[in-house]
Symmetry: D3
Subunit: 69 residues, 6 copies
């Protein structure tokens, strides 16, 4: 599957913390940057996510803001 | 300013393409990954963004999806 | 690719209208409902979208609001 | 009320699962497609949502991505 | 129509700037704060928005970030 | 830090309700309007948010919808 989201970044799951409905997934990408994602627990289960899983983070360009010091 | 968005990633602007209302900004982060952002032209102007600008990409965790092959 | 977005709905592109940076894509899903998407022109090109293309609309559950009369 | 969100799709609530802060609402639309929404528990209460409720799912066009196989 | 978005704020349109696909709408709310919205031109037309229009800004709680100095 | 989000509105935290992963923060802005935000518990902690905290609500223009009666 190829998606319209402009940012599809390969990485590896470092940590999954599940809550009542949502879970917090930490993904490490090349260069060592960590990207944090909140998805539903159902998605964690259906994708079989756990520490070490090879994944992509997918981010729509309109959801990326820019800041300067 | 410190923000609730969990992902604040330092990088350098590589390219700015402006449209009628919105602009597309490409930011290179450490490790060489490029992150693409769509923001308004007004924001490009008020932040003074151009190739070479040192910036942060700011992404709310709930806007990061995870995909697997 | 399998994605954490809970809503992945099969459909067929009915219309693509391109702007300066963004494009508006109309997708018809089973039952005749039309779903409208705004994505970048680059995505339209890289996915090769045109009327008749078989696609999926992908929507994160946290981006779906509910309204009642 | 008429809203700028381009996607306002009539349906019927099939299931509501509440968590600590957020709830997951499943809506069936004509043609049998199910759309899943994450909203706050407060919204579930204030809208009086339960299985069988007639509702609209409301989705901003910029939150709809397109994928192809 | 009553909507799950937690923030529905009454105001008055101050300015509408239309682009190729999207438009920028400035709304003044009580207390003098201005809220800026990017919606499609089609929505501007179908809602009949122009300076002086009485409107509501509608914002999902999960799209509101918090920052501190 | 200066951010591309077009809406940066000063206010004061009125209430923080924490869940398992996410928290609901109510901010009062000048004129008395309350803005509700859902952020992660981690953000509440790292920003030190509690009733009385002086904060900014930060909202991307593309996440503001417009409705009319």
């Amino acid at each position: 599957m190829k998606i319209s989201a402009r940012n599809v970044i390969k990485g590896k799951v470092k940590k999954v913390v599940t809550g009542a409905v949502n879970a917090e997934v930490t993904v490490e990408i090349p260069g060592g940057t960590e990207i944090i994602s909140i998805i539903t627990n159902s998605s964690v289960e259906s994708l079989g996510l756990k520490a070490g899983s090879e994944v992509y983070t997918v981010i729509k360009a309109s959801n990326v803001m820019i800041a300067v010091d």
